[in-house]
Symmetry: C2
Subunit: 417 residues, 2 copies
C-alpha cells in the first residue's frame, strides 16, 4: 500500500475571484463533531441558516436554503426546476458565466435566445427590456457579477420589467452576494443563487438560494414524491399530469428540497452537516459585521488596490462604469508571461491570483477582493509582491509607489482594516 | 437584527445507518486553511484522493473521483451520464433506495423495468439474470446494501452476467463501501457509487464514484464542452451529433467532470476544498486500518450487538441469510411507541438510532454499526441505554444480560475495539 503523508497545506494569501480565504471561525465550526440530520438540535441550525440567508439576500421569501453542491449546483437546481422542456428562455450574456446559464438551460430542454455583449461591458437595461418585449420568454436568466470579466450588471429595471410582464427572472449572484448589494425583493427577482466561496468566505460546497411564490407555483405543479417514502395523503405523486412535466432531476428538484427544508422534513438527501455548520457560522459573521459595513469594506479595499495598481503603471481591463467592485482585472503587460508571474507570486510570496477563460486567457490577470481575503493586509502584501515579481520579469515599475498609493487611500479611512 | 448563538453542538453517539460519527482526524482536516482549486498543492491532494478511491473500491479504473454533493448526487451523475432518453433500464428493487434508482432513471428519460422483492429479502442472482436475458436492457442499476431494510444483495454473478451480454451495470454501494467488501473489478461492475457519511465516517458532502472504460465510452460519445471555456482543438463541442444526445445535466456530466479530474484540469465547478481535505483524510485512515481489518471490525461489532439484542429478547427484522452487516433492524415490540424510545435515547443518553421509511415506518428501528461509530464502546453504551429505555417504556427486558452477552463476544476477540 502506498503511504500517504499527513495533510499539511501551505499558508496562502488567496486573491482570486474565488475560492478565497475562509474565516478561521468558519474553519473551526467545521471541526465540531457532527449531529444527525434529523436531530432536533441540527434542524434548529438548519432553520437558523434559512433565516440568515433571507437576511443576506434581503428577502422575505419563505424559501431560502442551500443546495448541497458547489455554486453551479444551485444554478442548475433553480433552472431545472423552473424550466419545462420547450419553455422560452432569454439569456443576456456578457461573460463566461452567461454561457453557463445558456448551457444549463439548453440541457433543461429550453428554447434559448441569447443576447451577447462584448466581454468587458454590460447591457444597458433598456436593451434587455426591449428584447424581453420582443421575445416574450417564459423566463429570463442573467448573471449579476461576472467574475470572468469583472463586470456588474444593473438588475433593478430588468427585474421590474419582468414582474410587469409576469415573466420569471433568475439571477446568478454567486460572485456578488455578501460583497455587493443584492436586493432580491426590491429588484423583483424571482430566484437568486449565491455562492459560498467568494464574498461569504465559506468553503465551496453549498449554494444558498432563494425563490418567491411566483417561482414556487411553477415548481409545485411539477411536484412528485419519491415512491420509497410516499405515504397516504401525499397527494400529487406521479408528476406529468395536466400537461406539466416532472422535473428532470431528483437531486435538484426544488419541490422535494423545500419539503426537506420545511417543518415536515420529508427525507431527501443527507444534509451536509459540516458544511451546514460552516454556512451558518459564515453567515453569522457576515450579519455581525453588517451588510452595509461589509459592502463599504469591499469598496475601500478595491479603491486602495486600484490606486496601487494604477500607480504602478498597470492598466485595468474593461469598461470602468460597470466594474464589479470585488474583482479587479489587469491587462497583462505586453511581452510578459502571465503564467510565469502567477507562479512566482505563488511560489515565492504564497499569493494566488487568477488568470482568465476563453477569449481573455493569457490577456488579463484577475485579482479578487472578496470576503475574508478582502483586507488591508492582503492588498498591501499583494501590491508589494506584484511589484517585485514584475521587476523580476523585466517590467519597468516605479518601485515602492504602489504600496504608498494604497496607504494614502487607507489614511482617509483609518478604521476599516 | 436577530442575534444568533455560537455554534455548540451537543456530543452524540450516532448509531444510525448514516450519517455516523466522524473520526476527529477528519474533523481536524476540515479546519485547515484552504488552498485554491488550481494550486498545485491542492491538485496533488486531488490526485491522492483518486488513488485512494481506487484502493477502497478495489479497482484499476482510471476514473475514480468524488462528485461534489451528497451520495445521491453520485448516483444521479452516473445515471444521467450513462442513460440516454429511451434507453432500457432494468432495476431490481428490494427497498427504498431501489425506488430512488427507479425515480432517477425515469427522470433521465429511461424506459424502466423493475423487479420487486418483498422488503426484508434480496434477489437470488438467477432471478435477476433471467430477467436480464428476457428484457435485454441497456443498463442494470442495483443497490448493494439497502439501509432501509438492512439487506445486502450478492452482485458477483449478476455483474459477470452483464459483462457477458455487454450490458452496463451500475451499483449503489453507498452503504457498503468501507464496511463490507465491494469488489468493483472482480465482480465486473461498470460504475459504482459510494457514500462518505456511512462506513467511511466522513461528513456527508461528497460521493466517491468509479467507472470503467465501458462506461466511459458511452459518456464520451455524448461529450460537450462549455462554450465559455472552449478552445481551438477541443473537438466535439455541441453534443447530439450522430444521434447521441448530450447529457441532460451540466453539473453531473461525467465527461466534463473527468476533464476536471484529469491532468488537463478543464474548469468545471469549484472543487469543495474542505470536503476534499476530509475525503482524503478519511480514506487515508481507512487504508491505514486496512480494508480487511476494517471489515473484520464491522463483523465483530455486529456480532456483539446482535448477541446483546437477542439476549434482551428483541427480534431482528428480515431474512438473516442476507443481513447487511452494518445495519441492524429490530422489530419494535408490540405496544411500544418507537418514536418515544428514540427520543428518550437521544435526550437522556445522547444516542441516536433510526426509524424507517414507507411500509416499515413505525415497525422497525435501525441501528447502524458503521465506521468510526462501529466501536466496542458504542455498542456497549447502546445496549445498556436501550435496555433502560425499554424498561421505562414498560417492556419486560432481562436486566443486565444484553451487555453481558456482548462482552462474551468481545472476550473471544480481545484485540479489536
Amino acid at each position: 500500500m502506498t503511504f500517504y503523508s499527513e495533510l499539511s497545506p501551505s499558508p496562502r494569501t488567496i486573491m482570486t475571484p474565488g475560492p478565497v480565504e475562509v474565516d478561521p471561525r468558519v474553519l473551526r465550526a467545521m471541526s465540531y463533531p457532527i449531529l444527525g440530520q434529523f436531530d432536533p438540535e441540527f434542524t434548529s441550525l438548519m432553520n437558523d441558516a434559512m433565516e440568515m440567508i433571507r437576511a443576506v439576500f434581503r428577502t422575505d421569501n419563505q424559501w431560502a436554503f442551500p443546495v448541497d453542491g458547489t455554486s453551479r449546483s444551485g444554478i442548475e437546481a433553480v433552472l431545472v426546476s423552473l424550466i419545462e422542456p420547450g419553455d422560452k428562455v432569454l439569456i443576456p450574456i456578457f461573460g463566461r458565466f452567461g454561457y453557463l446559464l445558456q448551457e444549463i438551460a439548453e440541457r433543461c430542454g429550453a428554447e434559448v435566445t441569447v443576447l451577447e455583449k462584448t466581454w468587458g461591458q454590460v447591457f444597458d437595461p433598456e436593451e434587455v427590456i426591449s428584447a424581453i418585449h420582443r421575445e416574450k420568454p417564459d423566463l429570463v436568466a442573467i448573471v449579476h457579477g461576472e467574475t470572468s470579466t469583472g463586470r456588474i450588471q444593473p438588475l433593478e429595471e430588468i427585474g421590474k420589467a419582468c414582474r410587469e410582464l409576469d415573466i420569471l427572472i433568475v439571477v446568478d449572484a454567486v460572485a456578488t452576494i455578501g460583497g455587493v448589494p443584492v436586493e432580491t425583493d426590491d429588484w423583483c427577482l424571482d430566484a437568486v443563487i449565491g455562492g459560498t466561496q467568494k464574498c461569504l468566505s465559506i468553503p465551496s460546497g453549498m449554494a444558498p438560494i432563494t425563490y418567491n411564490e411566483r417561482a414556487e407555483r411553477k415548481v409545485l405543479r411539477r411536484k412528485r414524491v419519491e415512491k420509497g417514502i410516499r405515504q397516504a395523503g401525499d397527494g400529487i405523486q406521479t408528476g406529468g399530469l395536466d400537461g406539466f412535466s416532472p422535473v428532470r432531476s431528483n437531486y435538484f428538484d426544488l419541490s422535494q428540497l423545500q419539503d426537506y427544508w420545511s417543518p415536515r422534513r420529508l427525507n431527501h438527501h443527507t444534509e451536509m452537516t459540516s458544511m451546514l455548520y460552516a454556512l451558518r457560522e459564515g453567515l453569522r459573521i457576515v450579519l455581525a459585521e453588517g451588510l452595509d459595513a461589509r459592502f463599504a469594506r469591499h469598496r475601500l479595499q478595491e479603491a486602495a488596490l486600484i490606486a496601487g495598481l494604477t500607480k504602478m503603471g498597470l492598466s485595468l481591463y474593461g469598461d470602468a462604469s460597470c466594474k464589479l467592485p470585488v474583482v479587479n482585472c489587469i491587462d497583462i503587460p505586453p511581452g510578459v508571461d502571465g503564467e510565469s508571474v502567477r507562479s512566482m507570486l505563488l511560489d515565492s510570496f504564497g499569493i494566488e491570483i487568477a488568470s482568465s477563460f476563453g477569449p481573455l486567457k493569457g490577456k488579463i490577470w484577475r485579482i479578487g477582493t472578496m470576503g475574508y481575503s478582502c483586507s488591508r493586509k492582503n492588498v498591501l502584501h499583494l501590491l508589494g509582491a506584484l511589484e517585485a515579481v514584475l521587476v523580476r520579469h523585466g517590467v519597468r515599475v516605479p518601485q515602492g509607489l504602489g504600496v504608498q498609493a494604497a496607504l494614502d487611500v487607507y489614511d482617509q479611512v483609518p478604521k476599516i482594516t
